[in-house]
C-alpha cells in the first residue's frame, strides 16, 4: 500500500515521500529540511508547525530554541510569512497519493495553504486504498472542513502550460512514520 501511495503521490509532481521507522528519525529529517531551507527568525523565512499528534512527547520549546524561526503558534501573520508549514494529515489514499485531514481548526489550513513548502506528516498505517475507503473513515457529520490534498498548488491557466505554486505550496514533502506510538 505504501509503495503504491508513494508512486502516486510523487507522480503529482514536486512531491517527495519519505518513510521512517521511528518518530525520532523523522524529526531528524525535518530538522535537516528546516536547516536546508534556511529557516530563520525573519518574515518570509519562518516555519509554522500546526498542532499535531506527532508533537506529543516532544519538547516544542526546546525545538523552537534550537531552530530560530520555527513557530508552534500558527497565526495569520506568521503563516503569511512562513516558508514552511508543517501539519499532520490523518489519512492517505494509495491510488492517487492523496492526503486527507479534518481541517476544521484554522491553523491547519493556514499552515498548509499559505507556505511555499508543505510538510505533511502521515502515519504509514493510515494509508487506505481509495476515495470510497476514505469516505467510510471521514464524514461531514463530524468534520466541518475536510481537506484532501494531492501534490502542490498548480495551474495551467496561461496557454495550458503547467506552473507550480500559484496560491498554495510549490512543494509537498510527505513524511511517513511507521511507529504508531504518539502519531495517532
Amino acid at each position: 500500500m505504501f509503495d503504491k501511495f508513494k508512486a502516486a503521490a510523487e507522480a503529482a509532481g514536486n512531491t517527495e515521500v519519505q518513510r521512517f521507522g521511528a518518530k525520532a528519525e523523522a524529526l531528524i529529517f525535518i530538522e535537516g529540511l528546516l536547516k536546508k531551507e534556511e529557516i530563520k527568525d525573519t518574515p518570509g523565512c519562518y516555519a509554522v508547525w500546526a498542532d499535531s499528534p506527532f508533537l506529543k512527547g516532544i519538547d516544542t520549546k526546546e525545538l523552537a530554541a534550537k531552530v530560530p524561526g520555527l513557530k508552534f503558534e500558527v497565526t495569520r501573520e506568521l503563516a503569511k510569512n512562513a516558508k514552511i508549514g508543517i501539519t499532520q494529515m490523518e489519512w492517505g489514499l494509495a491510488n492517487m497519493g492523496t492526503l486527507a485531514q479534518d481541517s476544521t481548526a484554522v491553523e491547519q489550513r493556514l499552515a498548509s495553504a499559505l507556505s511555499w513548502i508543505h510538510v505533511a506528516l502521515l502515519s504509514t498505517d493510515k494509508i487506505v486504498a481509495d476515495l470510497p475507503a476514505l469516505m467510510t473513515k471521514m464524514h461531514p457529520s463530524t468534520s466541518n472542513y475536510i481537506a484532501l490534498i494531492t501534490g502542490p498548488s498548480k495551474t495551467a491557466d496561461i496557454e495550458r502550460v503547467l506552473a507550480i505554486g500559484v496560491h498554495g505550496p510549490e512543494q509537498l514533502v510527505i513524511v511517513c512514520v511507521d511507529e504508531s506510538g504518539g502519531m495517532n
Binding site: 503529482a12 481548526a105 470510497p132 466541518n144 496561461i158 505554486g165 500559484v166
Partner: protein, 708 residues
C-alpha cells in the same frame, strides 16, 4: 445566420491561439490515460443516475440541504431569480460593511454578472482563480468553462499584468504566475468577504464540495470572516456517497488529472483566525433550473458536472473557441444552458454551430445527449418562429422526388439562375457555391433510377431493396451501380422502389420534425413493397434515418399507425459494408485470388460510427477485398460536411476539411474511403482542389471488382 455571428466566426478562425493549444494538448489521449483502470461507462451511469434522480427531486433536495446546512450553523437563502441573488448579496455586504471581496471560481456568479452589479454598489470583487483574474483584468468573458483565459497569449497576459502592477512584466509564464501569487496574496488578507461556488452540494449533510488546483478556494474560504457560496440548484445530490463518482470523474474529464490538487468538504462554519466563528451564507440559485427539471427533454442537461469535455472534443469549438458562443457557458452544453438561463430565441444562431457529429455524447460523464438537445432547441425555435420561407420551400421540394429531380435537371443544364435566387444554397449538401477548398460536385447526367433500369441482374429469391438517398441518386449513381454489382455476386437481387424520396435527415437537422416525419411516412411503403430480406443503404446519414430515427419521429408526430412499418424497415436496414462483411463471413462472397494489395485510409462518418455504430465492418470488408489499412489521426473526427452545415457555416466547414485533408495526406495511402456520399463529396472535392493524388471512394466502388 446573422452578420454579427458570421463576423465573430471569421475573427475566431483568424485567431487560433486557443485552437492551437487544444490541438497540442491531445485531450482524447490524456483523458484516456486518466481513466485507465476505471470503467467509464459504469461511472457515468452512476453519475447520470445520481444527478438524474436529483433533478427529479430538486425541490425536496433543496429544502433538505437548507435544513441540514442550517442545523450546522450556515444560513441558506433560496433565490429564484438573478435579481434575488444580487439583492441578497448586496444587502449582506451593506449590513456587514463589506467593501472588498475575494472570489474563487463561480460560474453561477458569472451567469448573473454579479461582479458588475457589486461594482455599481461600490463593492470590489476580485477573482482569484488565475484564469478568471486574467479575464477580469481584460474585461472579457470566459472562452472555456474550465480554463477561461486560454484564448489569451502569454504576451497579452504580460501586458495585462504590467498594467495592473504598473511595472513591466516578463512574458515568462512561470514568472507571470508568481506575479499573480504576489498580487492576489494581499487581497485575501484584506478582503471582508470570501465568495465561492461549489462543485457539489450534498443535501444529506448540508455540505459544499469545492475542487481547485490552485488552492485559491482554500484561502477564500479561510481568510475572510464571511464566506458566501453561490450555488446553482443543479449541484445538489442526495447523499454523501453520491459525491464520490463526481469527484472521481470531474478532474479526469476536465483536465485529464486523477484528482484536483485540493478538494474541500465544507459543512457549516469553521472558526476564524481570531477565534470567532465564520459567517457562512449559502445562496441556492434557481434561475430556470426548476423549469428545466420539469421539462422531460431538458431535465437531462442538469446531469452536467461542468467538466467541459464536450468543448475539448468538439470539432467546431476547437476551431472557433468560446467567444463565438456569446455568453458565459460555451460549447455544446453551453448552447443548451444559455438557451435556458438567458433567452431561447437569442441563441438561435448559436444552435446552428453544432454539426451533430456526436463526439461529445461519447465522452460526457453526465451521459447527456448534447446534440439531441441542441436539435430539440432548434425544433422549438423552428416551430415557434418558423423556418425562413425559402428554406422551408427547399425542404418541401426534396420531399417530392419528381419535383426535386426536375429542378436538379434544370440546375444541371443551367445552374446559374438557381444560384442567383439563393435557392440552391438551401438544398441539402452538395450544391454549395463555395469552392475555396473544395471543387463543386457536378450533377450526374443520368440519375441512378435511369442507370438502374439498364442493369441486367440475375433473378433470385433473396431480394434487397436499395434506398439510394439524394447524393447517390443525383450526384454519384456509380456508387449505386457498384452496390448492385457486389450484391449480385452474393446471389442477391436488388430492387429499386422508384417512389422513394429523401430520408428526412435534412429536415430533422433543421428542427422541422413534421417534415422529417412526412419524409419517413412517404418511404416506408415503397421500401417494404417487395418481399425483401434487406433494405440496403450506401449512405450513413440515410442509415441513421432508416435504422434509428423514423420510428421515434413518427411517434413524436402522432403518426403511430406507421410506427410498426418503420420498425420493420429499421430491422431490415443494413449499411452496404455491414452486409458485405456479413456475406464474406457467411462465405457468400469470396474475394478473388491474387488481388493486388492497395493502401487505404478510412474516414468514419459521424452518422456511421456514432449514430448507427458501424466502424469495424467496413474496415474488415475492405481488408478482405485486398486493402491494407493505414489509419489516419482522428479518423472519426467530422470532415465538416454535416449535410447542409457546409452551406450554413461555410467557413467552419472548410477549416474542418483542411484539418481532415492533412490527416489523410499524412497516411500516404492511395485511397480514402467513407460510407457516406456527403463525406465523399467533401473529401473528394477537397483532395481535388488541393491537387492530391489520393482518391476518395465509397467502399462499393473499391470492392466492385474484388469478388468471385
Amino acid at each position: 445566420m446573422k452578420k454579427e455571428l458570421a463576423q465573430s466566426i471569421h475573427e475566431a478562425l483568424e485567431r487560433q491561439n486557443l485552437a492551437g493549444i487544444l490541438d497540442r494538448w491531445n485531450y482524447p489521449a490524456t483523458r484516456a490515460k486518466a481513466y485507465e483502470g476505471i470503467d467509464f461507462e459504469a461511472i457515468r451511469n452512476r453519475i447520470a443516475e445520481i444527478k438524474g434522480s436529483a433533478a427529479d427531486h430538486l425541490e425536496e433536495l433543496a429544502e433538505k440541504f437548507k435544513k441540514s446546512a442550517e442545523a450546522r450553523g450556515a444560513k441558506v437563502f433560496r433565490a429564484n431569480s438573478p435579481e434575488a441573488v444580487k439583492d441578497y448579496i448586496t444587502n449582506l455586504c451593506k449590513e456587514k460593511d463589506v467593501k472588498k471581496i475575494v472570489k474563487s471560481k463561480s460560474m453561477a456568479s458569472e451567469e448573473i454578472h454579479l461582479n458588475k452589479h457589486l461594482a455599481k454598489h461600490g463593492i470590489q470583487a476580485d477573482e482569484t482563480d488565475l484564469g478568471e483574474w486574467i479575464i477580469q483584468l481584460a474585461h472579457q468573458t470566459p472562452s472555456h468553462m474550465v480554463m477561461p483565459a486560454l484564448h489569451l497569449t502569454k504576451e497579452e497576459v504580460a501586458d495585462l499584468f504590467s498594467k495592473e502592477t504598473h511595472q513591466q512584466q516578463s512574458t515568462d509564464i512561470q514568472q507571470l504566475v508568481k506575479v499573480a501569487r504576489k498580487e492576489l496574496r494581499g487581497k485575501y488578507f484584506d478582503a471582508d468577504m470570501g465568495m465561492s461556488g461549489a462543485n457539489i452540494a450534498i443535501a444529506e449533510t448540508g455540505t459544499l464540495v469545492i475542487c481547485t488546483n490552485e488552492g485559491n478556494a482554500r484561502l477564500v474560504t479561510t481568510l475572510p470572516k464571511i464566506h458566501v457560496a453561490l450555488v446553482g440548484l443543479e449541484k445538489l445530490v442526495a447523499n454523501y456517497a453520491d459525491a464520490e463518482p463526481i469527484i472521481t470523474a470531474l478532474p479526469k474529464s476536465a483536465t485529464s488529472q486523477l484528482i484536483t490538487s485540493y478538494v474541500s468538504f465544507i459543512t457549516g462554519p469553521s472558526p476564524n483566525t481570531d477565534g470567532s466563528l465564520k459567517e457562512l451564507h449559502i445562496v441556492l440559485m434557481d434561475n430556470k433550473r426548476t423549469a428545466m427539471a420539469k421539462d422531460p427533454q431538458f431535465k437531462e442537461a442538469l446531469q452536467c458536472i461542468r467538466c467541459a469535455s464536450c468543448l475539448n472534443v468538439c470539432p467546431v469549438y476547437r476551431l472557433v473557441t468560446g467567444h463565438v458562443f456569446g455568453h458565459i457557458y460555451t460549447g455544446g452544453i453551453g448552447t443548451i444552458l444559455t438557451a435556458w438561463f438567458n433567452e431561447m430565441e437569442t441563441t438561435g444562431d448559436i444552435q446552428g454551430l453544432c454539426i451533430g457529429c456526436g463526439k461529445c455524447k461519447e465522452i460526457c460523464p453526465g451521459k447527456i445527449d448534447i446534440p439531441a438537445l441542441i436539435l430539440e432547441l432548434r425544433r422549438r425555435v423552428a416551430s415557434k418562429e418558423g423556418l425562413p420561407f425559402i428554406y422551408k420551400t427547399a425542404l418541401s421540394v426534396i420531399n417530392n422526388r419528381k419535383l426535386f429531380q426536375a429542378m436538379l435537371r434544370a440546375a444541371f443544364i443551367a445552374q446559374k439562375p438557381f444560384v442567383k435566387e439563393g435557392f440552391i444554397r438551401h438544398l441539402p449538401m452538395f450544391l454549395s457555391n463555395l469552392s475555396e477548398y473544395r471543387s463543386l460536385p457536378t450533377i450526374a447526367p443520368v440519375p441512378f433510377r435511369d442507370v438502374f433500369k439498364k442493369i441486367k441482374q440475375p433473378q433470385s429469391k433473396t431480394k434487397a431493396s436499395f434506398f439510394a438517398g439524394c447524393a447517390i441518386e443525383f450526384v454519384n449513381p456509380g456508387i449505386g451501380a457498384a452496390i448492385v454489382k457486389v450484391l449480385n455476386k452474393a446471389g442477391i437481387e436488388v430492387v429499386f422502389p422508384e417512389d422513394q424520396s429523401c430520408c428526412g435527415i435534412p429536415h430533422w437537422g433543421s428542427g422541422s420534425f413534421d417534415m422529417a416525419a412526412a419524409a419517413a411516412a412517404h418511404n416506408i411503403k415503397p421500401l417494404l413493397a417487395d418481399d425483401v430480406e434487406y433494405v440496403v443503404v450506401g449512405c450513413a446519414t440515410c442509415a441513421t434515418a432508416l435504422k434509428k430515427e423514423w420510428p421515434h419521429l413518427l411517434k413524436d408526430q402522432n403518426m403511430d399507425s406507421l410506427v410498426p412499418g418503420a420498425k420493420k424497415v429499421a430491422a431490415k436496414t443494413v449499411m452496404f459494408s455491414e452486409l458485405v462483411n456479413k456475406l464474406i463471413e457467411e462465405k457468400k462472397l469470396t474475394p478473388k485470388d491474387g488481388l493486388k494489395l492497395q493502401t487505404l485510409t478510412y474516414h468514419d462518418s459521424c452518422h456511421a460510427k456514432r449514430h448507427v455504430g458501424i466502424d469495424k465492418e467496413p474496415r474488415a470488408a475492405l481488408a478482405a477485398a485486398g486493402y491494407e489499412l493505414k489509419e489516419m489521426f482522428e479518423c472519426d473526427t467530422c470532415c465538416g460536411m454535416g449535410g447542409s452545415y457546409t452551406v450554413k457555416q461555410p467557413e467552419i466547414s472548410m477549416q474542418m476539411l483542411k484539418r481532415k485533408l492533412k490527416n489523410i495526406e499524412d497516411t500516404g495511402a492511395e485511397y480514402v474511403s467513407a460510407e457516406c456520399p456527403g463525406c465523399l463529396i467533401q473529401l473528394g472535392g477537397g483532395l481535388d482542389k488541393s491537387g492530391s493524388k489520393i482518391k476518395a471512394k465509397h467502399p462499393a466502388e473499391l470492392m466492385e471488382d474484388k469478388f468471385k
